[in-house]
Symmetry: C2
Subunit: 190 residues, 2 copies
């Protein structure tokens, strides 16, 4: 387990994703792990059975691993990880079998799950796949129920983000297009 | 039509939502308009038939107007509009019939659609409802096909955001919880 990691209560886990950051999607099956990038991930429900959606193209290997294993993770890369994010989002493991090594992706697991998680991220949502064949076939839309959540306590603790008191390189990122992102910016209170 | 507004080509419209901002959802039916806030909105597809998802609780009046009229809009409020956003997200038109007036919401329409749009936002996605009864009943998840898109050209032009060269008050916002948002921050290129 990486230093600084701390569990996040399930009923607060939606706050990791609520501000709409770009995520890395990871899954494993039969001893093979993969990681891809996705900007189209979103909270679907909160409370004690929090859920997420994520769009996974039929061409992706991660989708195959997810469907074979029944689990996956969404995790939040940082401003320091934009190149890694674009790298794993551009290369397919079907054509670049060593893509994780190529882009410097280091994996770890947390208690209770075999899903590979990406080190260096600042939030992790470990999810159980909720099969919805029509959504998956028609829209490439997948649903997951969050079964455990974790965060880097330097930036997320007591149920909220604390980007202000940490280095900017730990800020989450929001992809627009073509490798251009916006970092999560200043806190604004209504 | 507000000053500064410009059409966005459909194949670039996903870029308005790709960075995961909080949106306002609007719809109208029978001469009644309503607006609510939603952090759980996401791109579902791009290209020439772009689609979006948005989660709309069964208690919301906007959901009823959407289902009665078959159309709705997602639009991006700014840092200057955090109080309006929290206001229309907290008050229900079922209990506060004059909520739009109370929170200073001004509406306009664009050519080809009767959907009310909120002035002061910096991006607008006019959508046709794509009915999916199972998703709506089970997950409160709605799908829309974007039929026209618009932006404030001070911050979005030539198919990309230009927050850097505009006042911070025009930045989009990302809700975490309890009225706390993060503004869209610095541009980062991989």
């Amino acid at each position: 387990m990486p230093e600084h990691i701390t569990p996040v209560p399930l009923d607060k886990s939606y706050r990791l994703l609520n501000h709409g950051p770009t995520v890395l999607v990871s899954a494993a099956h039969g001893g093979v792990s993969n990681v891809m990038a996705a900007a189209w991930a979103c909270v679907l429900d909160y409370g004690q059975s929090p859920k997420v959606t994520v769009v996974l193209d039929k061409a992706t290997y991660t989708r195959e691993l997810l469907m074979a294993s029944g689990e996956f993770a969404l995790q939040l890369p940082t401003q320091a990880m934009v190149s890694l994010t674009v790298g794993v989002g551009s290369d397919s493991a079907k054509e670049v079998p060593d893509k994780l090594v190529k882009h410097g992706v280091q994996l770890f697991t947390v208690p209770g799950s075999g899903v590979p998680l990406v080190a260096g991220c600042v939030g992790w949502l470990v999810c159980k796949w909720v099969p919805e064949p029509h959504n998956e076939q028609t829209y490439d839309l997948f649903i997951g129920e969050v079964v455990s959540a974790w965060a880097d306590k330097r930036v997320f603790r007591d149920g909220r983000w604390h980007f202000e008191s940490a280095p900017d390189e730990l800020r989450t990122i929001h992809h627009v297009a073509g490798g251009q992102f916006y970092a999560t910016g200043e806190s604004v209170q209504a």
